[in-house]
Symmetry: C2
Subunit: 309 residues, 2 copies
């Protein structure tokens, strides 16, 4: 594979700052561009705060840290970069203008990967003379903690660019999947949407409280989903017979449950009810305390399993 020692991060909100920390931790040089005045302070702070965690989960190592620099323009940021992660606001005109500006300044071998979650690759390709090495690399927030990156291209890509992007992400410690066909929400957001739809339905119908539905996830199947995905788990659940046996045994149950799943909409009333339920679940704890707890749980988990994967 190609060498990707020099990277650029375009757009340095929370996602861009998190990517920056991760790339630096892997020993990559990072040149950051963002329109915000205070980008240098914000990104530097973010990196410093993330660093102990990156060390703890093994993504950073003592004595390894790329050089962090800032550029006044996106054109300047990408000069000499081998890999560019783009995280500007998710509005198509902003993305397209950026691509037009940077394309003439890129190395021929550079890969440009967009963190976009809602836009389609084919829409974003409109900003390129030659979109062969422009791909989508969709992370989960925050990218330096959650391993998944969904890598997506289409027939206008050089297949090598997708392989290069995957190799780069793996090198910096990510776990990639290849999305072969663009659908709204890619893969993981659709799975989240499917789960949340039924979670909302159960609350709406009075089957269980918001807190109890949340508990049903983390204390139940969520615990297993942190280990393996649903196909493998169900296959193992049937022992030697595997998924074929699982389907034999439980297809009728699943069909019955599927027929009964809800199809709520997020109305103002539903949002209000869910918000009240989360407030009850919070039991007086604020957003900061709960976010800290969430991250502590995730970091402890990642640290505990890192040698078992």
């Amino acid at each position: 594979m190609a060498n990707f020692d020099k990277t650029a991060v375009l757009g340095a909100g929370v996602i861009g700052a998190s990517w920056t920390a991760l790339f630096l931790a892997a020993g990559k040089d990072v040149c950051v561009f963002d329109v915000a005045d205070n980008v240098e302070g914000e990104v530097t702070d973010y990196v410093e705060k993330a660093w102990p965690t990156l060390l703890e989960i093994g993504l950073a190592a003592e004595g390894r840290r790329g050089a962090l620099s800032f550029a006044a323009t996106p054109e300047a940021a990408v000069v000499g970069a081998d890999f560019v992660q783009e995280n500007v606001p998710e509005r198509l005109p902003i993305k397209l203008e950026l691509y037009q500006r940077i394309e003439p300044h890129l190395k021929a071998s550079a890969v440009v990967s967009s963190s976009a979650s809602g836009l389609m690759v084919k829409e974003m390709q409109a900003g390129w003379e030659n979109p062969a090495r422009f791909v989508l690399g969709h992370p989960f927030n925050p990218p330096h903690l959650v391993p998944l990156v969904e890598v997506i291209g289409n027939e206008r890509n050089d297949p090598a660019a997708l392989l290069d992007a995957e190799a780069f992400y793996r090198e910096v410690g990510k776990v990639t999947i290849r999305v072969n066909k663009e659908v709204p929400g890619h893969v993981a957001n659709r799975l989240q949407a499917a789960l949340w739809r039924e979670a909302i339905h159960l609350v709406n119908e009075g089957v269980a409280s918001v807190e109890d539905v949340d508990t049903a996830v983390w204390a139940g199947p969520g615990l297993r989903w942190g280990a393996m995905g649903p196909h493998m788990l169900f296959s193992l659940g049937a022992g030697a017979g595997g998924l074929a046996e699982f389907c034999n045994r439980y297809a009728d149950s699943f069909h019955r449950w599927w027929d009964d799943l809800g199809t709520p909409q997020i109305t103002a009333e539903v949002a209000e009810k869910l918000g009240q339920g989360v407030a009850d679940e919070a039991k007086g704890r604020g957003v900061d305390a709960l976010s800290t707890k969430r991250d502590a749980l995730i970091v402890a988990h990642l640290k505990a399993v890192k040698d078992l994967r």
Copy 2:
């Protein structure tokens, strides 16, 4: 709350044996009944194998272990029991006959809780003269590892019996939720069904491989679901604005994704395709190796977070 020092476990397959290990670990005496000839050997083996794990995750403690005994009949098993966990095969006539046999021999204060996943409380109540203290306590496999128990009753219950069951489960280290209204699949199986339906759809449509869909779960949202449930996670995802702000920002995206979610059926062809995908994902590893890995990941996770909950 009442004291639940003496317990009975009726039906000692994998679920019953796992409950037995957990109750013993909490210092409860357990009297086991099962129709199988080799029940004594099987259950004793299961408990011995589970014990190091129970110690590791803090559910057992040195010097604390209830007395294990076996009864030749269910009537004998429940005599003097404060709490009875019933796990006989999930066929209604078997359950009803068992309840009729044990009811005259129960202490007035005893709670009887069924592990049934598919039968409804109201169906099972038909086996009782007085179902006031008969509840459903649905675990996830294996009960000594996965914390969740779904507790369900209805208007024919003494509300105190549900509170007693919850108190008992918490005492032995479980996390309970209250299901207020019976629906097929209770709560957690419906959530699993919702997720798996879309997971199957994405494979069917060629969006991603079985392995990549599984990876999208454990390396992505599954990692977060092992920490918190979807309502709380999305609420925290919107920062200070909470779930109301999250709904404002993302309701349109979710509605678009929901409209596009698939509704596959588990046909023979689908089962075959999923089975092949899991075989690819297994990369030559057998069921035992993968099950061991799954349990090692879950135990490491539980151990890592036990002081953070």
